[in-house]
């Protein structure tokens, strides 16, 4: 497990941030969905709640834990954006964490809200995907790559 930068931790804990889970199916086809329940746990893992055992995301998560496939989590708000590469490590269908996520779902969406499982995901890599940060990183690596000539022309 890696230690996440504070800015990313803050985004993961922010209820107003956009949070996206990316997985792949058995054929390698990507599946990307919003998961507003994605949050940071005290031990540094990330967790989210699945509402359907039969969803494509859940099936891909099961495939992930069974065959050691990685998933991605993207979080963003305003101009800030991060991507986390992660490994599914646990599927909780009972217990304290499951109860907490279910209670939170009912708080947010009403008494009829339900949760089928809570996935715990261990981050193994992360990168700042904010536009300005990425552009600056690439510019530093090679200022003559990723640029059209008109931006380099002499001003007269």
């Amino acid at each position: 497990m890696i230690t996440l930068p504070q800015e990313l931790k803050t985004l993961l804990e922010d209820n107003n941030a956009i949070k996206v889970l990316g997985t792949v199916d058995g054929d390698g086809a990507p599946h990307v969905v919003f998961k507003d329940s994605i949050t940071l746990l005290e031990d540094g893992n990330i967790a989210y709640a699945e509402e359907l055992d039969s969803s494509q995301a859940n099936k891909n998560m099961v495939r992930g834990i069974w065959f050691d496939k990685l998933v991605s989590i993207t979080v963003g708000k305003g101009k800030k954006s991060y991507q986390v590469k992660a490994r599914p490590v646990k599927c909780a269908i009972v217990g304290p964490l499951f109860r907490d996520f279910l209670a939170r779902a009912k708080e947010q969406r009403g008494a009829d809200a339900d949760v089928q499982s809570v996935w715990i995901i261990t981050p193994i890599d992360c990168r700042d995907q904010s536009r300005e940060v990425r552009l600056e990183e690439e510019r530093k690596k090679d200022p003559y790559y990723n640029i059209h000539l008109d931006r380099l022309k002499a001003e007269k």
């Binding site: 055992d53 495939r63 069974w66 065959f67 599927c91 909780a92 269908i93 109860r99 949760v115 089928q116």
Partner: protein, 401 residues
Amino acid sequence: MIKINSTKEISFKDIALRYPDFPRFIILKLDLYRRGIVCTDNILERMRKNVPLPLVLRDGSSVLSVLGGVGVAGEYLLEPYKIDLLDGKVGIFDGEEFLDEADFSPDPQFYGKKTSRGTPMESIAQARPQRLDVWVYRFCHFWEGGNQCRFCAVNAMFKSGVESTGRVSLDPKDISETIKEALKEPGRFSQVTVTGGADPGEDQKFNSETQRYIEVLQVIGENFSGSRFPSQLLSCGLSKKQLKRIHSETGLLSYCPDIEVWDKERFAWICPGKEKFIGWDGYVRSMLDAVEIFGSGRVYTNIVAGCEMAEPHGFKTEDEALKSNLEGCEYLAKRGVSMMSLVWRPARASLFHRQKQPSLDYYVRLAKGLHDIRVAYGLEIHSDDYKHCGNHADSDLCRID
């Protein structure tokens, strides 16, 4: 007398290498059932129980503990896996080698409470991770005259409870109150399963067993708002008339008469009570009738996989046994019935005690075969999947279908 196999078993890790497209978790689960588990004193002290609740693997699937403990399970012929603490967490060990973390399913909130009659609620309904089991009748009459299934230890499992209470059947009011209390805990249960020992009754046609199940399902159903509720009945093979009554008079959703052994001749040998009172044809007919009543995909049956190879009359090779079971699965799948498998462990109180179990390789091939056939016939497993049951490696596989 079967000799104890002293040669080293092929480990689950070797089997996992042999089947890279088969989930390691499920191979481990199969072998935990096959070889058995023992909990160290550290674990028992932490659980404060003699019989721990189901073990839950990291992928959310469960391994049910042997009810009744080692006294019923018998000694281990293969080296059992060890469940111990490692850095404060529950771990699965093969000898001294740590294999993986796991958890025990937590007690539901109704445990420790009593019904208005003073009955401990945990004696009425038992919790799996997401399932509530109600054993409404705790005696199997097939044992009278020695007609019990040869792999079965059910009467020994319930002996002490029945002796201490003096009752073999549960009171419907106790059941109703326990279910009501269980439903107060949000998200804790996804299904109620009702079962009990075989009771042919005076007419030997299972009418008393049918009536008992109807009464119990009705009092359970009073706790639900809709006409049906997620539920399964595991019973003897009932007649079409009996099944129609159950379907129309209760909210039951799915039905599972366990045939135990698919091969007809070995069924008669291994399950003499079932053969005497219902017969192999009666069981199959009951399943097919049930599909007409409950619908395709709502009818299940279990085989106690491996006991069809017991000596002296069982199949001599794993290939023969596999062929028979997969033929059975396909025959039933074509007709809307899902055949599931359980791992056979020869319990001390059973007639097959000390018989040799098949290899882990056999169980992997069987699980894959059963799953693939059901997929080919479009059968989805809902009432008997990893969450609503937890006992079947073959239905765990449907999680990624």
